[in-house]
Symmetry: C2
């Protein structure tokens, strides 16, 4: 390996600049969801659009292409930060340079307006009020897909945004297989007795204290992060030393905020585990949403809904939230592992969740292909819910208006949720093989063995390896349905 | 007036861009004080330095100079937004182009490091630990002053940053006069009986609720702003529709947080009153810190410490904070108008406050001139406190390390506090002449007449008029000591 060329240093410097601005965008977006006064909204939308355009322009400048080409002529060590950066800069450069800045800014502005129109439309269950925004976003994303190009269908180009290498055909095959396998699991799970629940009064302050204790014990570093309140749980990475989770509080059921925190802390620990000195470079980022979701689902479901977890945490939960004393640890466990088909994806149990994803995947693929008109979405949605889950959708607010994704033009995002579930189960099975004492370690609540294993097998790689390679090295095989099926059968069969 | 030249539009567009980034900087800085996790600190400092350098570069580009020159060849309507923008862009351009980007970024980074070194040094009262940072900052600001140039002494160039048109000589004259006039006022005020105080337990939540009610009643719009907690009260303008105040809570004395809010809400209402469509342009900014401080001091002292204010608010304060019922309205009023020389500027009463400013002005002027070595500051400070206020300083934490300003290299800032006090009194006297029912309106708590008058005479001008012109039009004369002297004698004599 010869000396690092000057051009590599210039690319790192450019990435530092766009990283600074990207991090500012992340804070502006976090703030918009957590604390911005209403009158700041319109300006914020213009500001975010401008910054997105600026990052686009800096990264797609002609000199950047020349620097990348020069670096491609170089030999780099396998698995090195440098090799990954050059490879991923090339991929991103080729994609980004195909988009005119006008389209980048228009899309960003349409996302801001779409989100706020969606929030209002959902509040009044008025799909017609949101439809024109959806038309606009669909047209803009189709335009982007045409700019990028694709092998088989425009949806391929959109999938590539969230999951490099994933195609419509491969997603269709995997999701189809998984759907067929889920049917008998769901039948068995539904035959279990329905638990009585744990309804009581759990003040938000008590929930907040308990959530922070659990998140810290799992390994989420509160010196390098925060937990705030927002209408929807999300994780926002300002920097690996500044990772912010949000959750929301239902005073009638503390597990709603708790599992929001466990899920987002899974994302957050991944971000906290990235290499600080590669921040802003592809090697310092998570490039696969399916890998990201594998971490959130692993901590939320495999750790957080396990019997060992509740054996350990039940006494502390009762101490912090005295109302819980009216219920036994078994009742808590039954409550958090109940299976019940419903309308809302984010409230869905582990068994039915992916069926919600299947519906969205099919609808958005048809929308992008031009086979499903925006006006026909509500009917197609309701029919799909009937067919897949046997559920009647009472209104569009609880139907096709429930998710934020389409209001941001994020077509192609949903399949990564299911891939994340499959990856989570496969990683957990591998960790269990590698760490004989793992279940005992979950029971103590510290789960340190697990976090260390994930840091080593997943987190530290950042974008240095593609998702498929991370999965193969960590688990011995490609993403499949076997581990997840075994997990669901063991827990719900 | 002929058609607006194309170049004016280009300047507005450039200001829109730098405004977007400036607003992001403001949010990043606000966040650093209110919620950023500790591990985010180092990155944030580099990020803010980069953004400052970016704004500098965009504004000092050669084409900007050409556009300004083209616009100067145009006739603009008197008092117009356009005329002010062209005038102030010229002033800023001529100053900014004299600074190399390297100096801008170095100064920004030194400010971040200086602030954190200062906070640690103050906590342990260790001036020696802070001294090297102060040397660096002093050198950087002297270098900037040499770049800018000055008529008589380098300190002139620094004053110009905070108060366009103010010179060392004129500040010295005004502060000297005012100091001499304050001596007999202070003597009289000190002969008043010392009040017993209102010590009790005032929970922070109660204070928070009361402060928000008062701020809203004065006219601070909480749809376009927030009130948060931070170690020091400050006001941060992200946008005229997003203005954020902070305060801190002393559970033994609710007036500490209340007057923090009243002060910052004075700043905040000024920002909320600026023209939204000129945001980012000089015409949409407050260019004079003395004008800014006139608003904070007016609401804090002239409104908030008046008998009429407490007649109105005492019952509500007792309702929200039941512990206050142990004290009479007269005791509250006596407490908030007590006069007592002390070590700490931000806790100083109206009479002694400006003597703290006089000390800082003299010391920093000597520092910048090279007549006072950094190592000699503690002794000079303590001697000055003895001479001006008759106060013995127990340690540097309560002496020369108490203020944040020098840790940010903000030499030349302090005099604007006293100018602000003088302006506040002069504006209040003028408002009282123009609005016969003003004192009754304060007593109702709404004070709408006063805010409307300030909006019309001060706020709406933004940077369209220089401070001196705003004062002349609003009050009929230049900034002087007469109104403030009359106010203090009426209240404390």
């Amino acid at each position: 390996v010869s000396a690092v060329p000057r051009e590599y240093g210039l690319l790192v410097e450019r990435a530092r600049e766009t990283g600074y601005v990207g991090s500012a965008q992340a804070l502006l977006a976090w703030d918009e969801e957590t604390g911005m006064p209403p009158r700041g909204l319109e300006y914020r939308a213009g500001q975010l659009a401008f910054l997105a355009g600026w990052v686009h322009e800096r990264f797609t400048a002609a000199e950047v292409g020349e620097w990348i080409a020069r670096c491609e002529a170089q030999e780099w060590a396998a698995d090195s930060v440098e090799a990954a950066n050059v490879r991923e800069w090339r991929r991103a450069y080729d994609r980004e340079t195909k988009l005119p800045r006008r389209l980048v800014e228009e899309t960003k502005a349409a996302q801001s307006h779409g989100q706020h129109a969606w929030a209002a439309a959902r509040a009044s269950s008025d799909f017609a009020a949101f439809a024109p925004h959806l038309e606009t976003l669909l047209a803009l994303r189709r335009e982007a897909a045409e700019c990028w190009g694709y092998a088989a269908e425009p949806y391929d180009a959109l999938l590539e945004t969230y999951e490099p290498g994933l195609t419509s055909a491969s997603a269709d095959m995997l999701l189809g297989t998984w759907q067929r396998e889920l049917v008998p699991v769901l039948e068995r799970a539904r035959s279990r007795p329905r638990p009585a629940g744990i309804a009581a009064d759990y003040p938000a302050d008590q929930q907040r204290a308990f959530n922070a204790t659990v998140a810290r014990a799992m390994g989420f570093n509160l010196e390098a992060g925060r937990i705030d309140t927002a209408p929807h749980p999300f994780c926002s990475r300002i920097h690996p030393g500044d990772v912010r989770l949000t959750t929301r509080y239902d005073t009638g059921d503390f597990t709603s905020s708790l599992y929001g925190v466990l899920h987002e802390a899974g994302h957050g620990m991944y971000e906290q585990g990235l290499a600080v000195d590669a921040f802003g470079q592809p090697a310092g980022e998570v490039l696969s949403l399916a890998m990201h979701e594998s971490q959130s689902r692993l901590w939320e479901n495999h750790v957080g809904r396990s019997a060992a977890f509740w054996e350990h945490w039940y006494p502390e939960a009762c101490r912090v939230m005295p109302a819980l004393r009216a219920f036994s640890v078994d009742q808590v466990l039954a409550h958090v592992t109940r299976v019940e088909p419903g309308c809302i994806r984010v409230e869905a149990d582990e068994v039915t969740y992916d069926l919600h994803v299947v519906l969205r995947f099919r609808l958005e693929r048809a929308m992008v292909a031009g086979d499903l008109a925006v006006a026909d979405i509500p009917a197609a949605w309701n029919e799909g819910m009937r067919a897949l889950l046997g559920v009647e959708v009472p209104d569009d607010a609880r139907g096709c208006l429930q998710d934020i994704h389409w209001s941001m033009g994020a077509f192609g995002y949903f399949p990564t949720y299911t891939l994340g579930n499959l990856n989570a189960a496969q990683l957990m099975a591998a960790a269990r093989r590698d760490l004989p004492g793992l279940d005992a370690s979950l029971a103590t609540g510290t789960a340190n063995g697990l976090l260390g294993w994930l840091r080593d097998r997943v987190h530290r790689w950042g974008g240095r390896l593609r998702a498929a390679e991370i999965m193969r090295r960590a688990t011995g095989s490609d993403t499949g349905t076997e581990a997840c099926r075994a997990h669901l059968l063991a827990r719900y069969g």
